[in-house]
Symmetry: C2
Subunit: 565 residues, 2 copies
C-alpha cells in the first residue's frame, strides 16, 4: 500500500522521524493508521470533519460511507476483530454521540476501534458561542467518550499533537479497546513546527516472575489427571492462537471455548471439544470441564453469558486463569505477566502428557441432513442444514437472541470466522458487522443470522453492502417479535410484538440483491443451494418461524435468566 503523504520528503521512512514542519496533523494521523495496517475506514461526513474527509479521500485509506453512524461503528468493530485495528470517522456530536453504543460494545468486548471526530475549530470557540451541534459545552463529546474508551485525546496543542496521536493509538493496540481522537477542524491542515520520533512503548514482563509462574503451571499440568483449556476471545484479539495450539498439541490438552471466544480455534481440530457454557451448554462438555483437576482459562472473560449465567461450577482451586490483565494460579496472583510471555514460557517447559480421553460429544452431526420438504422450518433444523454448507471460506455473524444461541451449534472451520457480540449483546450488530467483514475479507462468504427485531434496527445498512457489490447471505429469522424476551418474561405482552415486514422486498428498495421467503425445510434447502452458488449479489432469506420456536440453548438460558428478573 502506498504510504501517505506520498510525495512528502519531510518524513524519514527508515527512522520514522518527522522533520521540522514536515507533516500536517491530519496527514500524521492517516499515516500512523496505515502503519497499524488500516486500509479501510467507516463513517459519515459532516461539516466539522469535511477537510479531514477530503484528506482521507486523497489518501490510500478507503472510506466506506454508511447510512448511519452507529452502523459505521459496528462495521469498524467487525473490521477490527478481523484486521487487528478498525476506525470510524464522524462529525461532532450529532455524529459522535450516535456511535456511543457501538464504541461501548467494542470496549466491553475488546475490539480496537479508533473513533475519529472533527469538531469546531479552536478559533471559532472563543466566547463559547452556540455553534450548531453543540450540546452543553465544547467538551461534552470528549467527556462522554472518556467513559467509553481506554484512551482519549482532543488535539489542542500542535506541539503535542503527534505525541498524543501516538499515545492513543498505542493504547488501542495494547489494550485492544476503542480510543477517541478529536481534531478541531482548524488543526487538520496545521503543520506543527516540531521534530518527532515515533517510539513505541514496550511492555516487559519480569523474567523471574513469569519463570516461577510457568514452572508451577507446567508441573501442575504434568501431574494432573484430566486437564482442559478454556480458550477465550483474547487469544484472538492478541493473535495468540498459534501459541494455544502449540501448548495444546504439544501437551495433548483438550480445548473448550467460550461463547464469546467461539471459533478462536478451528472447531474441526481433533483436540477441540466444544463450547463450555455451564448449565446452558452440552451436558457432556459441562461435566468434562467441571470434573477436570486443572482448568487452564486462557484469555477468557468471566462474563455472565460466557459462564452460562453463573451456572458454571468451576472451582478456583482447580484453575490457572491467565488473561491480558491478570494471571492467577489457584488463589495466588502473579503481577505484570503478559499473556504471551506466560504462554511462551509454559510451552518451553513442554509439560509431558499422553493422549487424553475426550468427551463423547458429537461435534459433527451424525449423518447428512435429511430434508423433510413440507415440514415448517424451525431454528434448530435451519442450523443443522446450514452446518452442512459451511466451509473454510465462510464467516458466520450471529446477532443476539436465538440467532446467537442457536448458532452455537454450528461447527466453524477456521479461526475467528464466527463473529458475535456475545457479551455486550447489542441488537442489530450483525448486518453492519457483515459490511465490516466483507470489506476486511472480500473473498470470503459472509453469512448473517439475525432476528427480525435486530434486523429492523440496522438491516438497511444492506444499502452499503449492495452499493459495494458484496455478496453476503442474510438470514432473517422472523418470529414477529422479541422472541428471547417472550421466554424471559412469560405472559402475553404486547411490547414484544413488532410490525411484520416483507423482508424479501428490501432488494427492490435497494435496487440490488435477491430476496427469498422460506416457510418449509424444502424451501430452505432449495434456497440455500441457490444462494450459495449466486456469488454475484446479496441474498436475503426471510425465514418464517413459528412464534414459539426456540433453540435448545435459548430454552436453557431463558430458564436461568428468568430466575433473576
Amino acid at each position: 500500500m502506498t504510504q501517505f503523504p506520498a510525495d512528502h520528503g519531510e518524513w524519514d521512512a527508515s527512522t520514522n522521524d518527522v522533520k521540522v514542519g514536515g507533516v500536517s496533523i491530519g496527514q500524521y494521523l492517516i499515516r500512523r493508521l496505515q502503519d497499524y495496517g488500516l486500509r479501510d475506514l467507516f463513517g459519515i461526513p459532516g461539516d466539522y470533519v469535511l477537510n479531514l474527509y477530503g484528506m482521507l479521500e486523497q489518501s490510500p485509506i478507503r472510506v466506506i460511507g454508511c447510512t448511519r453512524e452507529d452502523c459505521a461503528g459496528f462495521a469498524a468493530d467487525a473490521y477490527a476483530r478481523i484486521n487487528g485495528l478498525g476506525a470510524v470517522c464522524v462529525t461532532y456530536c450529532v455524529g459522535g454521540l450516535s456511535v456511543c453504543n457501538s464504541i461501548a460494545g467494542a470496549f466491553a468486548e475488546k475490539s480496537p476501534v479508533v473513533m475519529i471526530t472533527g469538531s469546531p475549530g479552536l478559533a471559532e470557540r472563543v466566547n463559547n458561542p452556540l455553534l450548531h451541534h453543540k450540546v452543553r459545552d465544547f467538551r461534552t463529546q470528549l467527556e462522554v467518550f472518556e467513559k467509553l474508551c481506554v484512551a482519549s485525546t482532543e488535539i489542542s496543542d500542535p506541539v503535542n499533537a503527534f505525541r498524543e496521536i501516538d499515545r492513543v493509538l498505542d493504547a488501542a493496540i495494547r489494550f485492544k479497546r476503542p480510543v477517541y481522537i478529536d481534531i478541531p477542524r482548524d488543526l487538520v491542515d496545521l503543520v506543527p513546527h516540531v521534530t518527532h520520533t515515533y517510539q513505541r512503548t514496550q511492555w516487559k514482563t519480569d523474567p523471574q516472575v513469569v519463570a516461577e509462574a510457568a514452572d508451577e503451571a507446567a508441573e501442575w499440568l504434568e501431574k494432573s489427571k484430566q486437564p482442559v483449556i478454556i480458550a477465550g476471545v483474547e487469544l484472538h484479539r492478541f493473535g495468540l492462537q498459534d501459541r494455544l495450539l502449540e501448548l495444546a498439541e504439544g501437551s495433548q490438552i483438550p480445548i473448550a471455548s467460550t461463547l464469546l471466544g467461539k471459533s478462536v480455534v478451528s472447531e474441526k481440530l481433533p483436540l477441540y471439544i466444544g463450547l463450555y457454557e455451564g448449565a446452558m451448554g452440552d451436558d457432556e462438555i459441562t461435566q468434562y470441564v467441571e470434573s477436570s483437576d486443572c482448568i487452564v482459562l486462557l484469555g477468557a472473560f468471566r462474563t455472565d453469558i460466557n459462564l452460562g449465567i453463573y451456572t458454571a461450577n468451576i472451582d478456583p482451586a482447580k484453575c490457572i486463569y491467565a488473561t491480558s490483565e491478570s494471571l492467577r494460579i489457584r488463589h495466588h496472583h502473579y503481577r505484570g505477566v503478559l499473556l504471551d510471555d506466560f504462554l511462551v514460557e509454559l510451552i518451553k517447559r513442554k509439560p509431558k502428557r499422553s493422549a487424553p480421553r475426550l468427551p463423547n460429544t458429537p461435534r459433527v452431526p451424525a449423518g447428512p441432513f435429511v430434508v423433510e420438504p413440507d415440514a415448517p422450518i424451525t431454528i434448530s433444523r435451519l442450523i443443522a442444514r446450514l452446518n452442512e454448507q459451511l466451509d473454510a471460506e465462510t464467516v458466520v455473524i450471529a446477532d443476539i437472541g436465538d440467532s446467537l444461541f442457536a448458532a452455537t451449534e454450528l461447527v466453524i472451520h477456521q479461526r475467528t470466522d464466527f463473529l458475535s457480540t456475545a457479551y455486550y449483546t447489542s441488537m442489530g450488530f450483525s448486518v453492519p458487522a457483515a459490511l465490516g467483514a466483507c470489506v476486511a475479507k472480500p473473498n470470503d462468504r459472509v453469512v448473517v443470522i439475525c432476528g427480525d427485531g435486530a434486523f429492523q434496527m440496522t438491516g438497511m445498512e444492506l444499502s452499503t453492502i449492495v452499493r459495494h457489490g458484496f455478496n453476503p447471505i442474510i438470514i432473517v429469522l422472523d418470529n414477529h417479535g422479541y422472541g428471547t424476551e417472550r421466554t424471559l418474561h412469560p405472559g402475553n405482552w404486547e411490547y414484544n410484538e413488532i410490525h411484520p415486514w416483507d423482508y424479501a422486498r428490501i432488494p427492490d428498495v435497494l435496487r440490488g440483491g435477491k430476496g427469498y421467503t422460506v416457510n418449509t425445510e424444502g424451501e430452505l434447502d432449495e434456497t440455500l443451494r441457490a444462494v450459495w452458488d449466486d456469488r454475484a449479489e446479496v441474498s436475503l432469506l426471510h425465514v418464517k418461524l413459528p412464534t414459539d420456536d426456540q433453540s435448545e440453548t435459548l430454552r436453557r438460558l431463558a430458564m436461568r435468566l428468568s430466575e433473576r428478573i
Copy 2:
C-alpha cells in the same frame, strides 16, 4: 385519564400524599409522569427493564414500541415539544447508549424528555461481575447521561426514591431539558416504607427587580421609533405565546421569529413579519430588524444558525434580551427574573404605541401557484406548491439541510406547527419526529420534508407509523447525496454520494402506505392532490431533484459556512 395505580388506597389524591408502604417505586414514577400530562411513551424493551415494561403495559400510559432506540428518543422529543413532556424507556447501555444523540439534541434545543432506563439489580452487582450490557462499570451509563441531561438519578436508596423522582421530573419541567432516571430492576416493585408528600418547588422573582426592569423596558418601548420583537423557541417551550401576543398586539409591535422558533406564533398574524436570519434571510426583514432602535429578543437562542452564521448585525445597545436564563437591557443585567414574570409586568405597563410601519415583505405568495406540468421539479417550486396546501390542521416537520432551509419559506398557520432541529441539526430527526407528532396530535395532518441522506438514517421508523395506522405525508428530496455538504465543501467528493434507493417501494416492505415517484411539477401537483385526500394511510413521495438544485436560503447559508471551513 385513569389515575395509576388505579385501585390503590394508599395514595391520597386530594393531598398527593403517599402513606407508609403504599406504592412501589415503579408505580410512583408512572403516576408522577401522568401528573405532568404524559399519556404516551416511546421505547424498546430489554431484559433489565422488562418488569417496568410490564407495569407500564398495565398502566394508562401507552407504550409505543419503535424499531430503534434513537428513533424512540426523537419521537419522544417531538412529542415533548407538542405535549409539554415526553418520555423514552429503554434497557441498560445497549438501549441507553443508543439514545445519547437524541437526548443531546433535546438538551441543546430545550425539549423536556424523561429518559427512563432499567439496569442490573443492586443485588446482582455485588463483586462487580461481568453482567451482559456492562461497559466499564455499573455507573458508565449514568456518567454519560450526566453530561447530556439537566438532572439525573440512579435510584439506589428506597428511602429517597420518591424525592429523587420528584426532583428530577421538576427539573425537566423547570429547565425544559432532558432528565435521566435509572431504576435497577430489583427496585421497580419495591415499596419503600416511607410517607411522602409531593411539594413542587416554586421559583420566585424578586418583585422590586422585575418592576425596575419592566419600568425601564416599557419606557424605552414607548419612546422608541421602530421597535421589533424577535420571538424565540422558549416562548413555546414555556407556554408564553399568549403573553407575546398580548404585548405585541397591545403595543402594536411587529414580531419576527428565529429559525428554531419558526411558528412560535401563527405566521398568518398581521403583526408577524417573518424570520430574522441575518444575511441568510430576506433582505427587507434583515434591514427592518437591524435598523430598529429597540429590539426585544424574547426566549431566542443566539445560535450560529439562528443568527445567520453570525452575519446578524444586532447592536446590544439596542436590545432587550430576555430568556429563561437571563434578562439584559442594553449592557446591564437583571438577575433572577423569570421570563413569564417579566412579560406580565411589562404588559401591565401597557407601553403605548401607534400602528407600525411594516416591511414590504410578501409573506404570502403573490398569486396562485401555476403548474408548469413538464418542468422538472425543484425544491423552491415544491415549497411554493406545498405552501398552497397548508392549513390550520397541518404540522410541518423539516429535517436538516435544504429540507430546513427551503421550508423556511412555508407559511405556518398555527402556533408551533413547524418542528425542526434547527440548532442541533441532527440528520434523521424528521421521520421519528413525525411518529411523535402523530401520537401527540392524531387528528392533525403531519407533513415531513426530508433529504435522502436523512431518510436513510431513520426513515424505516415509518414501520411504527404504518403499524399504528397514522397518515403522515413523507416527502423525500432525492439529490442522491449530502447536498448541503456539496455546497459547503466544493469539489467532486465521492463521500457526498449515497446509494440510490427506490423509496417508493418501501410501502411494499412495510405492508402499508402508498409510494409515489415525482419527477415534474405536474406529477407533484397531481400527487399532492391525491395524497391530501387519502387520509387512510402513509404517503411516501420520492421527489427526484436535479443534483445541483438548491434553495436560495441554502445558497446564502452555504456561502457563509464555507468561509469558515
